[in-house]
């Protein structure tokens, strides 16, 4: 039964699309094809060559536009409206939901945690990713070193959560420590008291952020490494001949030249960290002061059934991410210009 619906889904969707394209092509009766360059100037004749050339793009875009409209565009508008309504989305309550978010003590902890994630996760991942990109370039076993760091990108946050719960496992002092972190520290540091990393309010947020860094450093490394390899070698060679040290070359030449790539990585990391959900859900479920925005929204939605506040939280997330969306658009427009 399951297999049947699986086959149906992956065969029928492409099949229906192919049939759809050919039938609409017949219906609009498109014969003559006028090829237009991807980024070229508008020819001004599109309208004159008849209905086919006018209709065809829209028919090809229709499936995409339907999905995007129903599942992304309409919901975004709807959520913004809901954020000004009450728990059951019946009456408008003005800014009450937003005022609650910025005054409630629990919510302020959530916002504090997100700022901590934003700062430490981004800095840690970027720093380690850059270190790996620079160092791995200097050894023969570069592919192996990169693969080792990149592996966590392939697994789910849930699996990573299990892995790290096991790493942070705590047993009271005197018992055998089966968690790697406590075992190593008690073995190395005389008199070290094992800690409940995930339950201790002083360490639990940092412990979670470590998991995030472990997962995403590979991403930063791969992109930064590609960027660094694009730096022309003659510039570096010239600096070396002039007697610049490896550190000077790194700070004065490599970093400035890699700045655009670093900016891309940093913004991507920031967008992702703002939406972080899975790690916290699996490892602490937001208890003991570890809640973040996405987890709080989930609770407002399913535990407290307060759709107004849940929507308001989502809107705050969107506003925080909006600058990155604008940057993406700007970057696209610039690349358009530079390609003519």
């Amino acid at each position: 039964m399951k297999l049947l619906s699986l086959l149906l889904a992956i065969v029928s969707v492409p099949a229906v699309l192919v049939v759809y394209i050919y039938i609409t092509e017949k219906l609009i009766g498109g014969r003559s094809v006028r090829l237009l360059p991807a980024a070229g100037p508008r020819s001004g004749r599109a309208g004159k060559s008849g209905g086919a050339a006018f209709l065809r793009p829209w028919l090809w875009l229709l499936p995409s536009l339907l999905l995007l409209g129903v599942f992304l565009l309409y919901p975004v508008v709807n959520t913004i409206i809901l954020s000004f309504k009450n728990a059951r989305s019946i009456e408008f309550v003005g800014l009450a939901n937003f005022i609650h978010i910025f005054t409630d003590r629990g919510m302020l902890i959530v916002l504090r945690n997100n700022v901590a994630w934003l700062v430490f996760f981004t800095a840690g991942t970027l720093g380690l990713g850059l270190l790996m990109a620079v160092l791995s370039d200097k050894v023969r076993w570069e592919p192996v070193a990169k693969a080792a760091v990149f592996i966590p990108m392939a697994i789910s946050f849930v699996a990573a959560g299990v892995i790290w719960r096991f790493m942070f496992e705590f047993r009271p002092a005197g018992e055998v420590q089966i968690g790697t972190v406590n075992a190593v520290l008690t073995a190395l540091i005389p008199g070290f008291q094992p800690r409940a990393w995930l339950f201790d309010k002083q360490t639990n947020n940092i412990a979670l952020i470590v998991v995030g860094i472990w997962m995403w450093t590979g991403f930063a490394m791969v992109i930064l490494s590609a960027g660094l390899k694009g730096i022309p070698t003659d510039v570096i060679e010239a600096a070396r001949i002039d007697g610049a040290s490896a550190w000077q070359i790194f700070v004065r030449i490599i970093l400035p030249l890699a700045a655009p790539t670093i900016a891309v990585v940093a913004t991507t990391l920031m967008v992702n960290v703002l939406k972080i959900f899975d790690i916290v859900y699996v490892m602490t479920n937001g208890s003991l002061g570890t809640e973040v925005i996405a987890n709080r929204m989930y609770k407002e939605l399913f535990n407290y059934r307060h759709f107004g506040r849940a929507s308001a939280i989502a809107v705050i997330l969107l506003v925080a991410i909006a600058p990155v969306m604008i940057m993406n658009i700007k970057r696209f427009k610039e690349s358009r210009k530079s390609h003519g």
């Binding site: 699986l6 889904a9 992956i10 969707v13 394209i21 092509e25 094809v33 991807a38 980024a39 508008r42 006018f54 065809r56 793009p57 090809w60 875009l61 995409s64 999905l67 995007l68 129903v70 599942f71 992304l72 919901p75 975004v76 709807n78 959520t79 270190l131 160092l135 370039d137 200097k138 192996v144 070193a145 990149f150 697994i155 946050f157 849930v158 299990v162 892995i163 719960r165 096991f166 089966i178 472990w214 992109i223 660094l228 390899k229 694009g230 730096i231 490896a246 967008v271 939406k275 699996v282 996405a294 929204m297 929507s311 989502a314 809107v315 969306m325 993406n328 658009i329 427009k333 690349s335």
Partner: protein
């Protein structure tokens, strides 16, 4: 963005060779080895633990497994597959991830072609909307879409997650494929049109076969994304166990079993097995997808 993809393909430059035998080389190697060990250790610990008998996991650290007498077992895997619903969940994960990859790719390919090689009013701004949508947090869509699914009565069915993943994956899929398709040589398409080929013929016979590498990258990336997803499944499947994918099942196990490490370690490794195989077999394509995805969400 296309530049990032291209630089990835540049073979290892001369930077490596220049610095290889400098005095700091030993230090570089040591630092790298330490980082790599630190990165691998958590996963290795999980794998070793999952192969140890239940009574040993709880009383001794995992590296003691390598002291005599060696005692390894597959019983944790047998137990977790038969008792803890993991077998069903594995099938469910496939049920979700395969259509969740195929559907958006098919739909996106048509749109990417239209954005690349057809002229129409509003093409520019419509494409800007697609790019903007790449970064929209899916949290913004959860409540309205959940209500829609409830009204349609499909909450808790595979159809709901297929639709959701198809829509959420579309903006990035269109973006990645358009980058590739719009850079095909114009002369190639022009000569086909001169020979009297129609748009559908050019698309199916010429464009699709040419962009197989891009489709491969996108497919792997989207598959991993859906396979590893927790939030979408959690929300739209509503905790129904017989449709739950592995991420949801494991998350439930963590919350209810607490420290049942013999189950958790085996379950986590089962969920990682397929992505790891895909990763090692198709690393090149996956990394390309990630590079192109540096604007994704």
């Amino acid at each position: 963005m296309a530049d990032i993809i291209h630089t990835a393909a540049i073979p290892k430059g001369s930077m490596g060779r220049r610095l290889k035998l400098r005095p700091g080389a030993v230090l570089v190697n040591i630092v790298l080895i330490v980082i790599c060990l630190f990165w691998l250790l958590p996963t290795v610990g999980l794998l070793v633990s999952s192969l140890r008998p239940k009574e040993l996991i709880a009383v001794s650290a995992w590296w003691e497994a390598f002291q005599a007498p060696l005692r390894f077992t597959m019983e944790n895997y047998v137990n977790v597959l038969s008792r803890a619903n993991m077998g069903t969940s594995f099938v469910n994960s496939l049920m979700i991830a395969i259509p969740g990859t195929v559907i958006p790719m098919c739909i996106a390919a048509f749109a990417a072609y239209a954005f690349s090689w057809m002229q129409f009013k509003g093409r520019e701004w419509l494409y800007l909307v697609v790019i903007a949508l790449i970064a929209v947090p899916i949290q913004m869509t959860l409540i309205p879409v959940l209500r829609l699914f409830n009204n349609l009565g499909i909450t808790g069915s595979f159809l709901a997650v297929w639709l959701a993943h198809a829509a959420y994956g579309l903006p990035f899929s269109i973006y990645l494929l358009r980058n590739f398709i719009s850079q095909l040589p114009q002369s190639m398409l022009e000569s086909a049109f001169v020979d009297g080929a129609s748009h559908p013929v050019v698309f199916f016979r010429l464009v699709l076969p040419t962009c197989l590498p891009a489709l491969a990258s996108l497919g792997i990336f989207q598959f991993m994304w859906v396979w590893n997803d927790l939030l979408v499944a959690l929300i739209y499947l509503g905790g129904t166990t017989d449709v739950a994918p592995m991420t949801v099942t494991i998350a439930n196990m963590v919350n209810s079993y607490g420290g049942g490490w013999e189950y958790l370690t085996a379950a986590a490794f089962i969920s990682m097995a397929l992505p790891l195989v895909v990763f090692f077999a198709l690393q090149k394509y996956f990394v390309k997808g990630v590079l192109a995805g540096s604007v994704k969400e």
